[in-house]
Each structure stands twice: as C-alpha cells, then as structure tokens.
C-alpha cells in the first residue's frame, strides 16, 4: 500500500471515523476511575485526525511519495573524479610549476595557418586536479604586434596570464572549422574548464571570434576585441578582461546523475 495511495487514505479515514464513533459511544460508560480513558480517547482521536490530515497533505503535495523516501537516506552525490595531467606534458615542462609552459599543439586544425599555441600557467602544473579557465585568442594570418597580436611561435611574457590558460590561434581567410573542434580536443587532453571560455578577436579576425562565440554559446562567453576601431589596444588587457568574466579554477565537482531524457517524459 503506497504512502500516497487512495487505499491508505481511505483506511486512515475509516479508522479515524471509527475512533471518533467509539469515543462518542463509550463516553458515557467511562465514569469513575475509567474517566481517564476519556482523556486517552480524546488524545487518540486527535492523533488519528492529525495522521489522516497529514496523509491528505502528503498526497496533495507529494512530499514523501514513497515509504522509502520517508525511511531511507537519499543517495549521496558521487565523489569527484581526480584528473591527472598528461604525463608527456609533465615531462616536456619540468619547470612548468615555476614558469608555466607554452605548448605547441601537435596538429594544425582545419582553417588555421599553423598549430595553435597553448599557454599553461604554473597553476596548471601545481594543481593537477583543478579545471582552469580558458581564453581563446583568434588572430588573422597577417596580424602581428602592431595589432596587439603575437609574432611567430612565441608569445610575449606580458600576454601569459597566471590566472588561466590561453589558446592562441591564427586563422586563414578560409572558414575555420578547426576552431569549433579544437575546444573539445583541449577539454579532452587538458584539465581545463568545459565552459565559460573567454574569446578575444584580434583585428580582422574579430568576425571569426564572434562566429565562434555564437556557434557555441554554451562554451563561450562574450567576445573582447583588440586592434579594431572601438576595441582594446593591448592583448594583455583583453586577456584580463576575458578572464575576469570566466569562472575561476575549481577542483572537480561532486555531481548527481543527469536525468535521462526519458525520465522526465
């Protein structure tokens, strides 16, 4: 018999009515020393009324839908899954925990002029479990320091923030499909945040940055422009601004199971 079933409710109602009837019928017989039974009868009937009303309210509000929800403790959230840094990366950057590491990505994604550069700050190596915030910087093939961009395969120290990872990419004039696939690869291979990424678009690549942000609005936040009319002049300031809008580095969360699509339907 379910806790919110009509059968239980009807049973409670019948028992309650029976209790009240018995109290009325027996009232006159309980005299002398038995008068205490009257008090017990009153309290018992009050209890029956409270239980019945409680069951009605519970059926209406579905507070305790099952006996199990009344009796058992809920299942606990699952423990965090501890992430580890890629061992090859740790070997390549022995001083990473002190100075950070500028990683040259091993492949050139579609629509880019060369392999992306990924700045991993010292925090990345000091805390192998934290998910660091990420900013993606998109520049055109021809954008150099004059536009606030980096040059060649090196990034100035001033454009390497300690508060998060930065992905530097150069796109060619062609549609950069690799821009959309690269974040998933980075999330898979590095311990970085899955969402809340900042985007910086430099000069002529600003439209590509906007396309990226609007195509994947779940992962990316607002775009910061550099080297455009109305945009910022310096990349360092743009990175600060983008990181200030991103979630901080966080340890792996405790989680509950996600609802399967069929569970809600």
């Amino acid at each position: 018999m379910g806790l919110t079933s009509g059968t239980l409710l009807a049973t409670a109602g019948i028992v309650c009515a029976a209790g009240l009837t018995a109290l009325v019928l027996l009232w006159r017989r309980w005299v002398g020393r038995l008068v205490v039974l009257r008090a017990v009868g009153i309290l018992a009937c009050e209890l029956l009324i409270v239980v019945t009303v409680g069951l009605v309210i519970n059926r209406w509000g579905q507070f305790y839908p099952t006996w199990s929800s009344l009796r058992d403790n809920p299942a606990a959230a699952t423990q965090p899954v501890v992430q580890r840094p890629d061992p090859g990366l740790t070997a390549a950057a022995p001083d990473g925990a002190q100075v950070g590491y500028l990683l040259r990505w091993p492949a050139t994604p579609l629509g880019m002029t060369g392999p992306p550069l990924v700045w991993l700050p010292p925090t990345y190596f000091r805390d192998p479990t934290g998910a660091l915030p990420v900013v993606m910087v998109v520049a055109g093939a021809d954008a150099g320091p004059a536009y606030g961009a980096w040059s060649g395969n090196d990034v100035p120290v001033g454009d390497r923030p300690s508060g998060g990872c930065v992905v530097f990419v150069r796109v060619s004039g062609q549609p950069a499909g690799g821009l959309l696939t690269l974040p998933a690869q980075l999330v898979h291979d590095l311990h970085v945040a899955t969402h809340g990424w900042g985007v910086v678009g430099i000069a002529t690549a600003a439209p590509a940055a906007y396309r990226l942000a609007t195509t994947d609005p779940v992962r990316f936040g607002p775009v910061v422009e550099v080297g455009t009319p109305g945009g910022r002049a310096d990349l360092a300031g743009a990175l600060d601004l983008a990181l200030s809008q991103a979630p901080p580095a966080l340890a792996p969360p405790v989680v509950l199971p996600t609802l399967a699509p069929t569970e809600g339907l």
Partner: protein
C-alpha cells in the same frame, strides 16, 4: 523557548494532554445551562491545543521558522538592527550576519542574512567576490537554510575543498508575512517581490559587502518554491543573474490560498512569470540553469523533461536526479553540494580589486 525546540513541542503536547484530561473530568460535573458553554469550550480547547502542538511539532521536524514572530506571520523586518549583527561563526572561519534591505525600488523593507566565506576579512580582503542569492520554499524562511539544511557547513565544505569559489551568499526573506507565499513575483496590484530580489537586494549587497557588481558573478539558488523563484528570476533578469539552480522547484507559478490571486486575472503577467511558457514562447536568454529533483517526485519530472526539450542556446540546462528523496529536506541537503559546485562553475570568479595578478 523557540518554536523549533523540543521543549516547545513537549510543553504544547503536555498542554494538549491537560486539555483532554480536564475535558474528561469536567464533562459530567457541569450541569444546567452552563454545560452549553463549558463543554464546547473544552472541546475547542482540545482542538486548539492539538492543532498548536501539531504545528509546533511540524516546525520542529522541518524547521520552517526559528522565532514565534515568524511562526505567527509577523513582519520579518521589525526590530531588525541596521548594522551587521553576527548570527554565527563556523570553525572554518565563515560567518553569517544579519542586515536589512530597505528597498527603494520595491518599497519593501525586509531582513536578510549574508554568509561571508572563510577568509573574507583577511585572505580575501582585496578581492570582490561572486554572489549567490539563496531562496527558501513555502512554508519556510531563511532559518531553514541554517538549521535543517546545514547551509553554512555545506558552503564551508565546498569552498574549503576548492570545488566552489569563495562566494558571498545572501539569504533574503521573500515576504513580509510568513503566512503569505509571494512566489517572488511582482503581484498585480500587490507586493513587488521580484523587484525587491532582483533590484533592491543586489543594490544593498553591492553597497554593504565586498562583492562583484556585474551580473556575470551573480547567481540564484533555491529549493521548492525558492527553486521556482530562482529559475523565474534568472530568466526574467538575465543581465543581473548568470545562472540559477533549482532544487525540486516547479517550473510554473503556484496559485492557491496562501498566494492569493497574484496576477489578478492578468494572463500576460502570469505567463511572463511562467518559466515553461517563457521557454516555449520567448527568445532564449543567456543563463545557465540547473534543475535537480528527486526521481520519485512524479509531479516535477515531466515538467523538467518538457522544459529541457524546449530549451535552446544560449540557455544552458543541466539536470540532476536523486533517488529516494521525495520533496523533502533530506533531498535538499543532498542536492546542495553538487548545486553549489555547479553554479560556481558558471559564475565569474573573485576579482582582485587591483586587477588580475599576472
């Protein structure tokens, strides 16, 4: 003796027993015309004492209200101090303070509590922190979070472990009367609670605490009615709140005897406060939503399924289910740590007042 103490329950249960015994004893002793007065009065006394002990017993179990004023439905802003009064300090160094929100936009003046994380006064002194506005269910009050739901210790646990960023957490009252469920909306011709929570509370908090003023760092979280409030407020004010977490919250406003006719028959006003209607009929807004429920909460599961199917980017929806919980405080205790971690991952983090360290 507070209304959530076992002593109050024992006293009132004793009073109910005395009323029952007195009724039993005097029933045959009163005769002539006086029995028509005394016997009904005795029965009434039995009913009243039984009702009172049941109400206080329920309050003891579920910790809805911490003071007799609240339990009786008296205004929650009365006698509140204007300065920050410390309510509790944890072993981790966090503290809860009480303050008053004088709502200029809404015209409401209500008490609120602020959780200040460990290190707020020293290690984090140079940082502006993100903010979480936390809302309770109905019946309920902020007191529920600190008693039955153990919010202070759970927040300490998540922040100290690094799963949640240091955050200032605000627990505002959502109604001047504990007997009136406002559903956190601007009632047509009534209380402007939406304005109070989305405008007045942020204005006061930004002025009185060291927090980030921008919406990217503000979130909402609530259970039951507070969960509905959180989702509704976030969808209505996406520039003020970046994320919201609902623990067993409906996705439509409840209208019943405790709310009164909030929308006075104005269908448009009702629809605009209905997250399910909004997600189906209005352009999606850039907020992240976390919808958690007990897997045996059969009334809520279909709503979440419907909402999730309708949600489109840039709105982001994460769902979570927990077994054997129902619509209970045990559920909301278990749901809190994952919800805190989740919402922190969607809010902009602490910001050094002097800019980011490089």
């Amino acid at each position: 003796v507070s209304p959530d103490s076992p002593l109050a329950v024992v006293l009132l249960a004793g009073l109910a027993a005395v009323a029952a015994l007195t009724t039993a004893l005097i029933w045959d002793r009163v005769r002539d015309w006086r029995r028509w007065l005394i016997r009904p009065a005795a029965v009434l006394a039995c009913l009243l004492t039984a009702t009172a002990s049941t109400v206080v017993g329920a309050n003891y179990i579920w910790d809805f209200y911490g003071t007799w004023h609240e339990l009786a439905g008296v205004s929650t802003s009365e006698n509140a101090p204007s300065a920050h009064a410390v309510i509790s300090v944890s072993s981790s160094g966090s503290r809860v303070v009480r303050f008053v929100v004088h709502g200029r936009a809404s015209g409401l003046t209500l008490t609120a509590y602020a959780y200040l994380p460990p290190g707020y006064d020293d290690r984090l002194k140079a940082e502006q922190l993100p903010v979480l506005e936390v809302l309770d269910g109905y019946p309920g009050s902020p007191h529920v979070w600190f008693s039955a739901l153990h919010a202070q210790s759970l927040l300490d646990q998540e922040i100290v472990s690094g799963r949640m960023a240091p955050t200032v957490v605000i627990f505002p009252y959502q109604s001047p009367s504990s007997t009136h469920d406002t559903e956190c909306v601007d009632a047509v011709g009534g209380l402007a609670v939406d304005t109070f929570l989305a405008v007045d509370v942020p204005t006061t908090v930004i002025h009185e605490f060291r927090v980030r003023p921008d919406g990217a760092a503000w979130g909402l979280l609530g259970y039951s009615t507070g969960g509905y409030c959180s989702v509704n407020l976030a969808m209505r004010h996406p520039t003020r709140f970046a994320a919201a977490a609902s623990l067993s919250g409906d996705l439509h406003p409840t209208i019943d005897a405790t709310t009164g006719n909030l929308f006075a028959g104005d269908e448009t006003a009702r629809n605009l406060n209905d997250p399910l209607w909004r997600v189906a009929h209005l352009p999606p807004v850039p907020v992240a939503l976390y919808l958690a429920t007990g897997l045996d909460d059969r009334s809520l599961l279909p709503e979440i399924g419907q909402f999730t199917a309708l949600a489109r980017p840039p709105m982001r929806v994460t769902t979570a289910g927990i077994s054997r919980t129902g619509h209970t405080e045990a559920a909301w205790r278990a749901m809190q740590p994952p919800a805190y971690d989740w919402i922190s991952s969607w809010l902009a983090g602490p910001l050094p007042s002097s800019g980011l360290s490089r």
